[in-house]
Amino acid sequence: MASVPVARRRRFEDFSWVDFIINALRFIIIALVIIGSANTLLSGRFTFEQWVSLFVAGLAQGSIYALIALGYTLVYGILLMINFAHGEVFMSGALTTVFLAHAFDRSGFLNSQPLLAIIILIIFAGLVSMSVALLLERLAYRPLRSAPRLVPLITAIGASFFLQYTFRGFFGSQFRSYPAVDALKGSLEIGTINIPIVQPVVFIAALVLMGGLYWLVERTKLGKAMRAVSEDKEVSRLMGIDIDQIIMFTFAIGGMLAGAAGVINGLFRPQGVNFFMGFVPGIKAFTAAVLGGIGNIRGAMLGGLFLGVIEAVGPNLIFNGLGIPGSNQLKDVIAFTMLVLVLIFRPQGLLGERLTEKKA
């Protein structure tokens, strides 16, 4: 507690070039964002309808990031470890379930009972991803629980490659598309705004899952135990909580959400799934989790949505106004720039607390 005034004093007394450069950088970035946005908006290059469509598409994409991001944040909250193989947990559900989706399509079930079929697909993918996540925990991470923190991190990267190439071994490396669902093909006309139906469906499905998670964590005994373990493992044991069991539940829940996200993503994006599909969404969801404050559940949800929207709107809004060509191909740049910026300026994330001594 006594350290607060000390830290504050240092800020005024010691002039540091690092702080100066960081602040200058912060100023330049804010200026660029404002200038770019103002330019774009004043030039009237895009209509209001176009902005709304971009925003809604961003929300849909962002809700998928959010579902994956929750897996990172839940595990970090309990183990203070980044499960870098989580993108592959997502992939395993999405890739395995594409075959079931095609079977449903061939039998006509997918289009005669789309809601039921999609729910079954989501549950199936959730179970596959959950199993992969549980195996990861049991075989790769649990034996290293007391090792220095770098060790499980490296193991996670190794496990990630292992999963990718195992799935390539099973299913080959070609892309497979999820079948199109007739019910999701149309679009909604709201005044002059045209929104593909699939986008609000994706958003709502994700919202339902996140609502379920929120209820689980806030209201159930298991959720309370999870929060207790994330705060103090030793005292949790004194309460009678089996730590290993809670850790397994945490991986299971994160895995299920990732598997569900895999199916939702497959229905949303036509480009198909393959063994490498988890990499980019994995890193973006990690970005979203960091953005919201790693370990913070609400933060992961909001971080995901925020990242999705910024990715959708940002290129046109900011880059275009700055006269940068081909701005739509710069989507990924935005995500990773955000990651770097957050790590420099606000490592605790938007909603996160400062790393405490316990966590650091």
Partner: protein
């Protein structure tokens, strides 16, 4: 047969020999205190009893059952609960949630609800703050919560690690009154304290611990009169 029997336990932190063959016991219905200065091994003793660490040698029995290696998370259901050093409150959870976690092993919602309302009778301050996040409680309230939470497990033995730590004298008195009251209602208590004066005031018997060994064992009243104890732990010249 005593309720708790600790026989010749040796505990280590790496090469540090922290407990050097401790033997003591707690009888049903007693308040027994373990006093000693900083680093004497009081916390280590409680951590060993609750299996947060294991002794290298020796045996701990509770109600005749060997609990030396019973996992820590199985002890609440066996009847042992502890208020850890520094209280160990879950600061981000509400008062009510903290209490619910104290009853984690239990599956009787009605009984839990009843015991929660009993805790609120015992500690009215907590009732007013039931939906408040525990980190916002004062030190005294947190200590009350830690005790109430341990009682939610319906233990037959309550271990308390320095409940007076960091509290203003008035609050220390309140906490010790509470301990006495809980004991009168039938709870057996093993109380670890640096505040030897107060501890011996409410205890039936006491043990004096010094660098991992018990150097004195007697009735609390006798210990209080012991010149050695007076000089070293009671600040009497």
């Amino acid at each position: 047969m005593a309720l708790l029997e600790v026989e010749n336990i040796h505990a280590y932190y790496g090469n540090i020999h922290a407990l050097k063959g401790l033997t003591f016991h707690v009888e049903q219905g007693e308040i027994v205190t373990l006093i000693g200065s900083n680093g004497a091994g009081k916390t280590t003793t409680l951590r060993t009893i609750t299996s947060l660490m294991h002794p290298r040698d020796g045996k701990i029995t509770f109600e005749g059952n060997d609990i030396t290696y019973t996992p820590a998370n199985k002890l609440p259901s066996q009847g042992v609960a502890m208020v850890p050093e520094g209280r160990g409150i879950f600061s981000k959870l509400t008062v009510e949630e903290n209490l619910e976690l104290g009853a984690y092993y239990r599956n009787d919602p009605d009984g839990i609800r009843q015991d929660m309302s009993n805790s609120f009778d015992l500690f009215p301050r907590l009732k007013e703050r039931r939906t408040q996040v525990a980190g916002t409680l004062s030190g005294g309230e947190q200590q009350m919560l830690a005790i109430a939470r341990a009682l939610m497990a319906k233990p037959r033995l309550l271990l308390l690690d320095e409940p007076s730590m960091g509290l203003a004298p008035v609050l220390v008195d309140t906490v010790f009154d509470t301990i006495e009251r809980i004991n009168t209602e039938g709870m057996t208590v093993l109380l670890v304290e640096q505040n030897a004066l107060l501890a011996l005031e409410i205890a039936d018997r006491g043990y004096v611990l010094q660098t991992g060994e018990i150097v004195l064992a007697d009735d609390a009243a006798t210990l209080k009169k012991n010149p050695e104890v007076q000089k070293k732990y009671l600040g009497v010249d």
